[in-house]
């Protein structure tokens, strides 16, 4: 365990601290019938190998994506998913997962397309829970099925599509490319250690600043940096302003959902959208400009 005392979530200066919960909070709410804990990972074997007692799994490939159209699940499938894990619209869902909550924030973002606002992220994710030696189980919980009624999916507020991105570029509005510097410079077409997923060209969307997503995280325990540290990165270094109309992107919109979460909730920026088409679309799109050094 870390020996340095870190500021609590409430003391970090976030615009919306209520969207984060600590591992202590989760430990105290394991039996809370109004709380559903959801693990979302990139590695499909992590959850079955051990998870927070009572936590259900939402898998980004199987549960959140449409298998035939490159899109997220529709309202009916979202209602089915929520009903199957025993969630009601009033219930608070708490996401956590591997890789610094990368996939947890992705699931959180998809849930926001359907307006499930009672949603939180466990600060530090799976890493912090494990580092603290907290209980894990392999038991898969079963909850009584609910009849979840979802709001209509609203892509307009937090999701950006390619034509909107093109207009954004032409209007010289800010974009943040959250991929690795090598991907941003076009020296590689995929993230380090990951295979190439098929973009034809390397580079970035014209005008985008490069802020790798994981800079928002304290690597030793996966917790988020303080608002002051985050402002230093995004405002001073990358030059974005809180009231800007900002589009974030990465490779398929997963890493950038993490940055979307940071900018929207921790810094309180009101106009941030995630371009989930990201580089796997833009880097293959006929007729759009790219930029590279």
């Amino acid at each position: 365990m870390a020996t340095v005392t870190k500021p609590t979530i409430q003391d970090r200066g976030y615009a919306h601290p209520e969207v984060l919960v600590s591992t202590d909070w989760v430990a105290e709410h394991l039996e809370d019938p109004n709380v559903r804990i959801i693990e979302s990972n990139e590695d499909p074997l992590l959850y079955p190998s051990g998870h927070i007692p009572g936590a259900v799994e939402v898998d980004w490939v199987r549960d959140l994506n449409d298998p035939l159209v490159r899109d997220y699940l529709d309202k009916e499938r979202f209602e089915e998913l929520m009903s199957s894990i025993g969630v009601t619209p009033e219930m608070t869902v708490v996401f956590y997962g591997d890789k610094n909550n990368w996939w947890a924030t992705y699931a959180f973002w998809v849930f926001q397309l359907f307006g499930h606002e009672n949603a939180k992220i466990m600060d530090g994710g799976r890493l912090k829970w494990e580092l603290e030696g907290r209980p894990m189980t392999r038991e898969i919980p079963k909850y009584p099925r609910t009849q979840y009624k979802a709001k209509d999916r609203d892509d307009s507020r937090i999701r950006a599509f390619r034509d909107q991105v093109l207009a954004h570029v032409e209007a010289h509005k800010p974009l943040i490319d959250v991929r690795s510097p090598e991907e941003y410079r076009g020296e590689r077409l995929h993230m380090p250690d990951y295979p190439n997923e098929g973009a034809l060209r390397g580079g970035h969307i014209p005008g985008a600043a490069n802020v790798p997503w994981s800079r928002a995280i304290n690597p030793e325990d996966g917790t988020f940096k303080t608002a002051e540290e985050l402002r230093e990165i995004y405002e001073k270094e990358a030059g974005v302003k809180p009231d800007d109309d900002i589009i974030v992107y990465c490779r398929i919109g997963e890493r950038s959902s993490h940055t979307w979460f940071v900018l929207t909730y921790l810094l309180g920026y009101p106009h941030v959208r995630n371009y989930d088409g990201s580089w796997t679309e833009w880097g293959n799109l006929v007729g759009v400009p790219i930029e590279k050094p």
């Binding site: 990139e42 499909p44 074997l45 190998s49 490939v61 392999r138 898969i140 250690d193 990951y194 295979p195």
Partner: protein, 159 residues
């Protein structure tokens, strides 16, 4: 007719072919991950040399092969990533079912082995990383078979 693969792997694939519940599938894979043992120290110790790093494996898995009999190999893996559970399961399966098997059988391991074991819900990135692990094992066998007339004869006979 498909070429023979190592019998232990064929048995495991038969077992997986009948599984419809993903958690049953994951339970078996998790048991393999639990059984994973890293490369023994007399072969390598951390920090592991970069030239043994498996390309495209996001879990930073390392790979070694040592002869085990005239036409077989013992396969070793290691990972410095504590959360690399899928990669550890895949590595443990390759060691358990393919170490000691004749090279002319190992070359016929199906390229879609990760999907057959993990199911169709694997993300593309994850799939290709696991395929890369399989590729490392097959490459060792392929290189051996190329220089071994006896292995080529065995392969032709389909034994």
């Amino acid at each position: 007719m498909s070429q023979p693969i190592p019998p232990k792997l064929a048995e495991l694939l038969d077992e997986f072919a009948d599984i419809t519940d993903r958690y049953e599938r994951y339970e078996i894979l998790t048991e393999f991950a639990d059984a994973f043992r890293p490369v023994p120290e007399h072969i390598a110790r951390p920090p592991y040399p970069q030239d043994h790093l498996v390309p495209y494996c996001e879990s930073q898995m390392y790979f070694w092969a040592r002869p085990d009999g005239d036409h077989a190999f013992k396969f070793y893996f290691a990972s410095e990533n504590a959360q690399s559970i899928s990669a550890r399961a895949m590595a443990a399966i390759l060691d358990e079912t393919c170490s000691g098997a004749p090279a002319w059988q190992v070359v016929h391991i199906p390229d879609d082995l990760p999907q057959r074991l993990f199911g169709k819900d694997l993300a593309m990135g994850r799939t290709l990383g696991l395929v890369s692990l399989v590729g490392m094992v097959k490459n060792v066998a392929r290189t051996h078979v190329k220089t071994c007339p006896q292995c080529q004869a065995q392969a032709e006979r389909g034994e």
